[in-house]
Symmetry: C2
Subunit: 428 residues, 2 copies
């Protein structure tokens, strides 16, 4: 009960501050962001000391090295957080943008303008840099933010938060704009997710388990950065050299990201020409293949010195639903474009999918048929990223269809309202 | 369990059809809508007969006359449904509209295009016309629709649905585009609300109880057409004649609508000049006033022949949170503009609120400070309506901030996707 009261109080303050935030000028917001960036650097020692505490606890708790790698901060990582805030300061302010402006026959002037959403809660796991990134984007877009990071990163998050909060206070900005929930109890998340009277949006950032839990428990609208089960489909009319470059890049360049390829689909007419060279290249990069029967058959003909035994396994159905985030790839030969589209819509996660083809008709069919946030022709799926799209920093990639789809950047952190100006109009 | 399997099957078919709907031309959609409109008229007898069954059941069940009025169909009401479909046929097709189009330095061409959302479930109460209205808007915007109307209107809804479904079949359109859930069991709603793998959006249309239930039970994103607790604030710098015309219209012209005024706020400097005449006019129209102490005091000075005893009561705090939908109005005198804004944000439902003032500074402050979908200056709140905004028909007025805010019309029933065209680009 004490936690609940505390959280309601915090959420109310966040809402109160958000109503003032709309009035803060872009210049002042940018000045505050630059100040936050500067203070993070000067507080480096304190942040690293706090991070050491989290790291020692994680190591004592026997966490994996991948886990501690995500958790660990360094002067370089603090510099990146600081640079991130400076970048956000440079981006155009979305608040106040006129989306539409027109007059009605009765003389009413209707304006549709971009405004902040209000209060945004971010629930995330072990990366402490999310603390600074999310504050930067929410603050610039005029929203109050409530952060709830993983308990494993609590000391690091608090140290970063403290530096930023001090800037807010020093500059006489509404204190409720930035908030952190420190209660280690996981029940705090469930309480937070019921506060739909105060919180307008929740964004979970983390693994599948966290996101499923938030969707199930929340009465607040959720934007999900969910699985990235991305495909490249090599069409019968593909430039096979280009296809090989794109597929290799999509899988290997950074396999741990959500926009990396997890499944490669190949038209049956291209399979015999395309797969041997492709599989050899993947094998050379240490990629494990989980293939359909035809893929296995073609791979079986390659000399063992090029593709060691065990490098190509049989794909189970669950492989087609897997986000490996690793040097593993499922491969399937499909009879035609229609089946490729069907496979992607059925097994994929509606994130990013690409076709390699020289046929403009096939490209058009793929663009139309694939129900994903980002659909590519002749390019790697790895470009799905706010920065690559020219939107600056991003808070995640939405795999939802409502409100925001694809990269969630400053614009996506806003809503709109209608301003209607009259001179005494009444309804007939 | 049988209901669950049935609903999953229906939702899967709806999803399958929605993936084909994207490809249906505007011309074909418009032809189908005109055909549906025509068939509703020719099937008038069958629809009225079915409606009679529902009406007899409602009367036998002792339902109120307001209830049977909402339920009752007539040749005139069927004509309105038919006209509604013809109107939707005339509106521009939002699907395929290019929202952005630009190139990146690496040569990638990025297009952001409007696409249908997918599968939309509408859960509604006793008005059978919602059946035709929702099918029209969802069909035109390229979405599959799953309807679940009130069990009291089942025969009427089925009769209307049957006519429309026959047009879909006859024109060889994907049958899964329009669907109706006939299970009377209310558990059907809860099952439906968990099918987030197939349904993309749910819109409840009905009373507060229904909407609260849907928000609580749903794992699917919800757009709420929630309470309309709308305000008119009469500023100290108002043209008081204009204020009286606007307030009277906002309250009396159609009190049962969500955009009618439920609370009138008056600046203390205007109260003594404004309230006597305004209260007399309201009283003459049969409006009951629930006033703050000062309002009561001013009303008490008016002669009983003009304002009968009992017409002005004391406002309790719950009055400020009430959506009367009736000839009842709460009235409060406020010390200043800031307090008016605070009252509206605190007690209102973020729907439609208006200021009457000749001060452009006060107008600007009100437009900025009031956190509602539609904020008016010198006009009646009654204009919040898709048609009045020039958007054609609407499916409701969203009081949410995510995805759609204010009137939900064809554009709001779409999402977007990014189409990215390259010539072999890979990420560095």
């Amino acid at each position: 009960m004490a936690i609940k009261d505390e959280l309601i109080d915090l959420a109310k303050k966040a809402q109160g501050a958000s109503r003032l935030a709309y009035g803060i000028s872009s210049a002042l917001k940018n000045k505050a962001l630059r100040e936050m960036a500067c203070r993070l650097i000067s507080a480096q020692e304190a942040i690293l000391t706090a991070n050491q505490k989290d790291l020692r606890r994680a190591q004592a708790g026997g966490k994996s090295s991948a886990f501690t790698d995500r958790l660990a901060l360094s002067p370089e990582r603090i510099r990146q957080m600081s640079d991130g805030l400076l970048e956000v300061a440079k981006l155009p302010d979305p608040v106040g943008e006129k989306l539409k402006c027109y007059s009605r026959p009765n003389g009413l002037k209707i304006e549709k303008v971009r405004v902040p959403i209000g209060v945004i809660a971010i629930i995330y796991e072990s990366r402490p840099n999310v603390t600074a990134d999310c504050i930067g984007l929410c603050f610039k877009s005029g929203n109050s933010v409530i952060l709830r990071g993983g308990s494993e990163a609590l000391q690091s998050n608090l140290a970063i938060f403290k530096v930023i909060k001090e800037v807010i206070k020093k500059m006489n900005l509404p204190e409720g704009l930035v908030n952190i929930v420190t209660a280690a109890d996981r029940k705090a998340i469930d309480i937070l997710l019921k506060l739909n009277d105060y919180i307008d949006l929740v964004m979970p950032r983390g693994g599948e388990g966290l996101i499923r839990h938030v969707v199930k428990a929340s009465r607040i609208p959720v934007i999900k950065h969910y699985l990235g089960i991305c495909h490249v489909y090599v069409d019968s009319k593909a430039d096979l050299n280009m296809a090989q470059r794109i597929c290799f890049n999509a899988k290997v360049q950074r396999p741990g990201t959500c926009n990396a390829m997890e499944c490669m689909l190949v038209h049956q007419d291209a399979a015999a020409r395309f797969l041997p060279g492709m599989i050899k290249e993947f094998s050379g990069a240490g990629v494990e293949i989980r293939g359909c029967p035809l893929t296995q058959k073609i791979a079986g003909r390659i000399h063992k010195s090029l593709v060691p035994k065990g490098r190509v396994k049989k794909a189970a159905e669950r492989d087609y639903r897997s986000e490996y985030l690793d040097l593993i790839l499922s491969v399937k030969v499909v009879p035609d474009l229609a089946e490729a589209i069907r496979h992607i819509n059925y097994y994929g996660s509606h994130h990013s999918d690409s076709i390699v083809t020289n046929s403009s008709q096939n490209a058009a069919e793929f663009l139309k048929g694939v129900d994903s946030a980002c659909v590519y022709v002749n390019a790697s799926t790895r470009f799905t990223d706010g920065n690559q799209f020219g939107m600056g920093a991003e808070i995640g990639i939405s795999t939802d269809k409502l409100h925001a789809r694809g990269p969630v950047a400053l614009e996506e952190l806003t809503t709109y309202k209608y301003l209607i100006r009259g001179n005494g109009q009444v309804r007939q």
